[in-house]
Structures are given as C-alpha cells and as structure tokens.
C-alpha cells in the first residue's frame, strides 16, 4: 500500500467544493433572468471535474488523507458516470424546473453537494469517510425532494425519506461501531487484514454484518428495505426523481463494493452475506416486478422497476467473484443510462401545469413524434432486457456470473421474474405505438435537450450492438481495484 501526502487523488473533490462556494456566492448577486449563469456554471463545474478525474486517474490505487481516501480505477469510472448522469439530469430538468419556479440557486447547489457526497462515498476507504459522504448525499437529497415547498406530496416524501433514512443510517452506524469493536480499526483495508488474520470475534462480526447489510439494503432500495422508494419517486418533483434514480445508484454500488467486498471480503463472511443478498435479491425481483404491473403512475412504476433492477445488481455482487463484481458494475452503469433516459422522456412530455407522469400520457406518442417514441421504445426494451438493446447484455453478464458461481436456480428465478417484468415495459410500448394520442400538444424541447436525449437513446442501441468495450472497461477497472 502506498501513502502519498499530496492531495492529487482528491483534486476533483477540492475543485468541486471551491466551485460550489463560488456558485453559492455568485448566485446571491444574480436576479431571476440571469439564473442561466448558475446553470451553465454547474455544467462547467461538472465538466471540469470530469477533466480532472480523467487526468489524475492512475491504474493502481492511490491513497491520501492517511489512507482515508482512495482513488482507483473503479472510483474514477464511477465518478465519470456520476458527472455524466448528473449533467444529463441538469439538461433534462432545465425546462421543467423553470416552469415550476424551482430554477433557483438552491437546486444547483444542492445537486453539486450531492455530487460531492457521492464522490466521497465512491472514494472512501475508511468507515468515517464512507459515512460522511453518505450523509452529505442524503441530506442534500432530503432538501431537494422538498424543494417545492408548498407541495404536500413532495413534503411528505421528504419526511418519509428523512425518517427512514435516519433509521438506516442508525443501523449502519451501529454495525460500523461493532465492526470497530471487533477489529479495532475504522480503516477498511486494516479491517480486512485483521479479519483475514483471524482476529475479531466472529459472532460480533456477523452481527455487525447484519446491520450493515440492512443499511445497504435501504440505500440500494432492495426489498425488504424498499418502502420509501415508491413514495419518494412519486412525491418528488420529476427533475429530482430523475436525479435520485440515477447517479446515487452508482454511489450505492461503490458503497457495497467498499464495505462488503473490500472490507468484509473474508471467506466466512462472504458466505454469510451471500445468502443475505440472495434473499434480498429474490424478494426485490419478485416484489419489484409484480407490484410494478399494478401501477398506473409511471413514476411509481419506475420506482418498482428500480427495485427489481437493484435485485439484479445484487445478483451480480453475490456471485462473489471478480466477474460478478464487474457484471454488477456494468449493470449499474447501464441502468443509470436507461433510468436517466426514461425520466428524461417524462420531462420531455411535461410542461407547465402538466406532469406527464401517468402511463396514459404516453398514449399515441408514435403519432406525435416517431423519433422520441423510438427512443422510448429502445429504453423500454432495454429495461426489459430484450436484445439488441444494451440492457440485455447487462442482464446477460449478471446471469453469467450467477451461473458461474453455481447458482443456476437463481438464474432461472431471475429470468422468470424478468419475463413478468417485460409485461409492464411492453405496456408502455403498446400505449405509444398501438393507441391513438389523447393529447395533441406539440413536443418542443430545447435544442440541448433534443440532442442529449437523442444521444442517450442511441447510446442504448450502440452499446447494444457493440457492448464489448464498456464490458471490458468494467472488468479491467474491477480487476485493478481489487487486490
């Protein structure tokens, strides 16, 4: 292990924090017409972070802040994914939040704080940094959900999320404190070493594991810790739902990897969490896919679809092999790409005073705009896992890892539930293509939205035809980040 004093691995975070303060100050001096400057600055900041992350990336893990903070290939890739999906979310949200009087400095500053929290989570190699990042992210999200102050549903969602989130954090902290008690360290690498050498009381460690998995389950929105998801997705303004449904999933994946794989990756603990994850994954697939069928609200439906996708992600992780982890990483990146695009479509159809979050609002989209209907078709088939959309390869790589780990029955279960899942994605395609439109208002997105959304949709197809590169990249970064 290599400790270096310079702050190079954290340059991107430092840059983001500086820019954040600058934007916060600058925004005070802007009036409503000039708010566009904040928006552009936010995008530029994300772009700057991307460049810095790209430049400072090293193939071997580099530690700083006395080993509390690590920069490895996995963290760099996930961070790039976070910047990208956040930037896309900003572009998609622009018209929506303008029309709803949310186009304010707070929205952008909170978003950037959430991004900073995610970056810290992704790069944490110490329980303290992990927890700090998580709380920074969560607190920003609580505020964002309630950003529309007078909206009862939004406030209720924020309240629910806050209470349940606090509970989950509590469990996580309790687990972490037991871990500290058993191993005498908060440093993940040190914890792993102590456990590997046979130190620490096994009973205490397993207890700690249970609490930690429960906390993780909440952050991942896996059953039975999923209760908040439908309400938060539904109640939050769509622009915020889009954000919650995308980048934080990348951070949650890193969270799982750091804690379970890098910290608690000893064989006998793997055996323990493997079965916990099996139960959570199967339940998530079952409840997510079956309940989604009954929804009439698209945002709620997507909430349940998220739950089922997180079940798939867990399948990749629980395989307990490098291939499994890289398949889960591929899955989460693909999922974020699809999720951003789908919520982008809802934002595309919404306008002042109209949310477009009912399933029926998609009726006859093909007659109104064949191009966007085609984009949505790609997104839906990708979510359902039908080739040649990229979602198929994500499911394939996870299934492959699961079969390779000897859980053939689990693959069969997963496949059967994705068959059920295919039904509700198909229903959207049916509404768009087979039904006549009920709403004839023209779809007039801004130029930036048109381009980004089209690129997003085409990416689903292009990565579906040539998925090799992205898969290899995930494999490579996992291989170099685990040691």
């Amino acid at each position: 292990m290599q400790y270096i004093t310079p702050l190079a691995p954290a340059y991107a975070e430092i840059f983001l924090l500086c820019m954040l303060c600058a934007i916060l100050l600058l925004d005070c001096f802007l009036d409503d017409e000039q708010r566009g400057i904040t928006y552009v600055l936010t995008l530029l900041t994300l772009g700057g972070c991307a460049i810095i992350t790209w430049v400072t990336t090293t193939t071997d893990p580099v530690f700083t802040f006395s080993g509390m903070f690590v920069s490895d290939l996995m963290s760099s890739m996930l961070k790039l994914g976070i910047y990208g999906s956040t930037a896309m979310a900003m572009v998609y949200s622009q018209s929506y939040i303008r029309a709803r009087d949310m186009f304010r400095g707070e929205f952008f500053v909170l978003t950037l704080f959430a991004v900073l929290g995610m970056m810290i989570m992704v790069s944490a190699s110490h329980l303290l940094t992990l927890y700090l990042g998580l709380e920074l992210l969560s607190l920003s999200l609580y505020a964002m959900i309630a950003l529309h102050r007078d909206d009862a549903a939004g406030t209720e969602a924020a309240m629910k999320y806050f209470v349940l989130g606090a509970l989950a954090s509590g469990m996580l902290l309790y687990g972490m404190s037991m871990l500290y008690g058993a191993t005498g360290s908060l440093d993940l690498a040190r914890i792993a070493d102590v456990i590997e050498e046979g130190g620490g009381d096994r009973t205490v460690l397993v207890f700690a594991l249970v609490f930690i998995v429960a906390g993780l389950g909440f952050k991942l929105s896996a059953v039975p810790f999923h209760m908040w998801v439908p309400d938060v997705y539904h109640g939050a303004p769509t622009a915020v739902t889009l954000f919650i449904g995308s980048a934080p999933k990348l951070a949650a994946f890193a969270f799982v990897m750091r804690l379970l794989v890098m910290g608690l990756g000893a064989d006998y603990l793997v055996e323990q969490w493997q079965w916990m994850l099996v139960i959570m994954a199967v339940l998530s697939l079952a409840i997510g896919n079956i309940t989604a069928i009954a929804q009439t609200n698209l945002k709620r439906m997507l909430a349940y679809s998220t739950i089922s996708h997180m079940g798939f992600l867990l399948l990749g992780v629980l395989s307990g092999s490098r291939d499994g982890y890289s398949s889960a990483m591929f899955y989460v990146i693909v999922y974020v790409l699809m999720s951003v695009g789908t919520f982008g479509m809802i934002l595309l159809l919404s306008r002042a005073g109209f949310e477009a979050d009912k399933l029926d609002d998609f009726k006859g989209l093909n007659a109104r705009s064949p191009w966007y209907a085609f984009m949505m078709l790609l997104l839906m088939f990708s979510m359902a896992g039908v080739p040649p959309a990229v979602g198929f390869y994500a499911k394939l790589s996870v299934l492959w890892a699961v079969v390779d780990a000897g859980f053939v029955w689990l693959a069969v279960v997963a496949v059967l539930f994705s068959l059920i899942g295919a039904f509700y994605y198909l229903r959207i395609v049916k509404l768009m293509y087979f039904d006549e439109p009920v709403d004839a208002s023209p779809i007039a997105p801004t130029a930036s939205m048109r381009w980004v959304l089209s690129l997003n949709g085409m990416a689903i197809l292009v990565f579906g035809i040539v998925p090799g590169g992205l898969m290899a990249l995930c494999e490579y970064s996992i291989a170099l980040s685990l040691h």
Partner: protein, 498 residues
C-alpha cells in the same frame, strides 16, 4: 473501393440499413418509402443469390464463414456460416420479403414507412438467425425479431391486436429466456466459448442434457409452435395484417424448426434420442388434433393458422425420426410450407381487402366474380392438402415414408393429415368460392390487380416447381443433413459417471 463486405454480412445488413433508410424518408413521403423498400428488398434478394450458385454441395462444413471478435471479454464472436438448410431458408426469407413489400404496396396507408421498415429489418434479423454460428449471436438475432413483429401486429393489426401482440411477445420471450440460461450454462462448461461448434463437442452427462434439452425445447416448441404451446399463433395470425401473417407463417415459425436442428440435436443428442418419443407424440397430436380443430373454424385466417400448426407437426415429426429421409422431408416441408402458407394468407388478404371480413359465412360464389383468383387459390388449396405435383406433397410424403420405417402407427396417424388437410382446406374453398353468389358484396368483387397477380403468380410457380422437380433442393440438403445426423448420433458426447 477495395473494402469488400462478406456476403453473409451483406444479406443481414443490407435489409436492415434499407429499413433505416426507409424510416429516415418518413411517413409523409409514402410513395418514396414504398419505392425505397422495394429496392431494399430486391437488393436483399440479389445479394443472397450468389449463395445459391457458389454453394459447394459436396461439402459438409459451414460455408461462407466469417469470424471476428465481438465481445472479447466474453469470448463472443461475430461468427457466421451457412449449410444447405440455412441456405434454403435464407432464400425463402429474401423472396418472401420482396413479396410482402409488394403485397403491402397499396393496402397499407397508415404509417407506410414504419410498416415497410419493420419488415425489412425483420428480414435482416431472421437472416442473422439462419447465419449465426455463435450461441449468443443466435440468441440476439432470435430475440430481436420479436420487436418488429410485435410492432407489426400491434400497429397494423385487427381489433384485438393488443392482446394478440402482447401474447405473442410474452409467449415467445418465456420460451427463449430459459434457453438463454441453458446457453450460459453451456458457456461455462465449454470452457468459455459461445461458439456452436464448441458446444457441439462438449461432453455432458445425460441428466444435464435433459435439462438443456427441456430449455431449448420450450424456446423452439413455442416458436414452431407445437401443441400445447401453440395458442398464441391463431391469435397472432388473426389479428396481424396480411404481411405480418405471411412472414410469421413463412419464416418465423421456421426459426423453431431450425433451432431444433441447429441447437437441440447436435448439442444434446442423447437427450434428444431419449425424449424423441415425447416430441413425436406432441407432433402427432398437432397433426391429428389440430387438423380436426381446423375443420371447425369459421374464420379463414384462423383455419389457415391451425393448418399451419398441423403442417409444422410434420416438421418436428420428421426431425425426431432421426433418419436422413425424415430430416430432409422436414426441411423441405418447412420450405414448402413457407410458400403455401404465404400464398394462403395472401389469398385471404386479397378477399379481406375487398370485403373486410374473414368469416367463411360471409362468402360464397366468389369464383363467379374472380375467376383468375379462384384458379390460383385452387392451386394453393390443393398444395395445402398435399396433392402430388405440388410442393406440399414432397415433404409430407418423405416424412410419412421415413416414419413408416420406424413405426406403422406413427405413420398411419401422420397420414391422416392427407384426409383432414384435404377436408378442411377444400371444404373452406368450396364454401367460399363455389355456389351461388352469396350477397351483394360478393357481387361487386373485382378480380386480381396486376400487383396481386404477380405476387400470387410467383408463389404459384414456386409451389409447382418445387413439387415437380425438388431434386436441386435435395442436392443442397444431403450433406448438411448427414452432418447434422452425425452430430446427433447417440453416445457421441455422453459423459458418464459425473
């Protein structure tokens, strides 16, 4: 330009890119879309023709092979190659696509470019299935065909189209998803390769073979379709537009038979032999029982749909007899059924476009008003009942003959199709075409337009040519069939004591 695209890639990608071009033209310029689709479909046929002339009939290995890495981290390759069976099915597909584009020329007025593009892309994807020599590539093409067909049935279909489209999609998806798990399992046991050629050599214990066979069986049996997983087909056929029914019957059902021959038999030969009785039993049920069901149908399209299931029963029967004769018969039956069912659905389409009803009871005496059509329809009806001299006879006769060598009772049951087939087809023909003119709508019927005549004429020539002189097709098939039988010989790859 010295960059030459290999021929099999051409036959896959030319129709797909033509489809994209048609989409770009858009629905507002409908006539341009039609012309471009026709050019695209013809181009697809033209690039496929050299396959027929350059195909080496004496070789048993896959020809025109292409191999380049596709997903390196999974060792998945873009691996293409064809044998005689794929060759015939590809040509059938390319011809059908041209006919479908012409048949939809004036009938389709709603979203023309999307309609044509869906058929062109479907054609390219199905060529992909017939060419793929990599398990994953096969699966991707196999699944991807669902999307355009789903759209075709759902957008241009009849009143109950949504139900039919969703049923079609979920049924076929259910079948194929389990085969995906089987493919992944094979990938892990074959030491990390998705190549079908490697799968052919993997040693497997019998119980594993049986499970893999069951997974494949579900996928292909739904596609064929075999009794009792056939119920999606009558719904899909009845609701689909004429072109959709034609492609569904002529090509898509063949994906099932093709899958049995390309995957099930060579990969799990012992399980195939062990369970042959089961498949044969289901096939005989299809031939006899579904034949009887067809007899009582009041809707012409439904009748032809059931007749399709019954005829496809011959395909699975011929395959699982494990003799060269039976297998050749099965493949010829697939080709012949491609022509005949396409023609039958087009004939119903011709009448439906004029009368907007498919009910037999609404017709009567059509022959008085449409003599040319009546003559062509007669030919196809005869072919459908397996009259010697038409293509329908060749495959059925070979299969019955091969079955006779195995068991008298199998072949006796199979031969009932000659009675039932004639009964339901000719009885329908009689009620629709003969007798007095039934009503004022029939009175006003006009005979075939030149476009319709061309389409049906091409099919009539094909049906007769294949019936009178099937030898060239047989020549193409001999070596391929022998190779499949060699791969499917029992005990070749049985792993004992695991």
């Amino acid at each position: 330009m010295n960059i030459s695209i290999p021929i099999l890639s051409q036959i896959i990608w030319v129709p797909i890119f033509a489809g994209i071009a048609v989409l770009v033209v858009g629905d507002r310029r409908a006539q341009a879309a039609r012309v471009i689709s026709l050019i695209g479909a013809l181009a697809g046929l033209v690039v496929a023709l050299p396959l027929w002339t350059q195909f080496d009939r004496a070789a048993s290995e896959f020809q025109f092979a292409e191999l380049s890495p596709w997903i390196p981290s999974f060792h998945v390759n873009y691996h293409l190659g064809i044998d005689g069976m794929s060759l015939l099915l590809i040509l059938l597909n390319c011809i059908t696509t041209v006919l479908v584009v012409i048949a939809g020329w004036s009938v389709i007025q709603k979203r023309v470019s999307q309609y044509m593009a869906a058929f062109l892309m479907l054609s390219g994807l199905m060529n992909g299935v017939f060419c793929a020599l990599d398990g994953l590539l096969f699966y991707v093409f196999f699944e991807a065909t669902l999307i355009p067909m789903f759209i075709i049935i759902g957008v241009w279909g009849g009143p109950n189209r949504v139900y039919a489209a969703v049923k079609f999609f979920l049924y076929t998806l259910m079948g194929s998803l389990l085969s995906l798990v089987a493919l992944i399992y094979l990938f892990t046991v074959s030491g990390g390769s998705f190549s079908l050629l490697d799968f052919y050599e993997v040693q497997l214990p019998l119980n594993v073979q049986v499970l893999i066979f069951a997974a494949f069986m579900l996928a292909f049996a739904v596609k064929v379709p075999m009794w009792p997983v056939h119920t999606w087909l009558p719904d899909a056929h009845v609701e689909a537009p004429t072109g959709g029914s034609v492609v569904l019957a002529a090509i898509m059902l063949k994906l099932g038979g093709y899958g049995f021959l390309r995957l099930s038999l060579p990969i799990v030969p012992d399980a195939s032999h062990e369970l042959a009785w089961f498949v044969i039993a289901l096939s005989l049920v299809a031939v006899v029982y579904i034949g009887l069901v067809a007899l009582v149908q009041a809707d012409m399209k439904k009748l032809i749909a059931y007749s399709s299931i019954s005829h496809m029963g011959f395909v699975t029967l011929g395959i699982f007899i494990f003799s060269a004769q039976g297998m050749e018969g099965a493949i010829l039956q697939m080709i012949s059924h491609g022509f005949i069912s396409a023609a039958m659905f087009l004939c119903v389409g011709v009448m439906y476009d004029r009368m907007h009803t498919r009910m037999i009871a609404d017709y009567g005496g059509v022959a008085h008003r449409m003599p040319v059509f009546a003559a062509l329809f007669m030919l196809f009806a005869m072919a459908n009942s397996g009259l010697p001299g038409t293509s329908g006879f060749v495959g059925e006769w070979l299969v019955i003959l091969a079955t006779m060598k195995v068991s008298f009772w199998y072949s006796a049951l199979a031969a009932t199709t000659l009675i039932f087939g004639a009964a339901y087809t000719l009885w329908m023909y009689k009620r629709v075409m003969f007798g007095a003119v039934a009503n004022s709508h029939v009175e006003e019927l006009t005979d075939l337009s030149s476009r319709e005549f061309f389409v049906l004429g091409v099919l009539a020539v094909a049906v007769l040519a294949m019936g009178l002189y099937p030898a060239p097709l047989g020549e193409v098939l001999h070596e391929s069939v022998n190779e499949i039988l060699r791969l499917a010989s029992p005990g070749r790859k049985l792993l004992i004591g695991m």
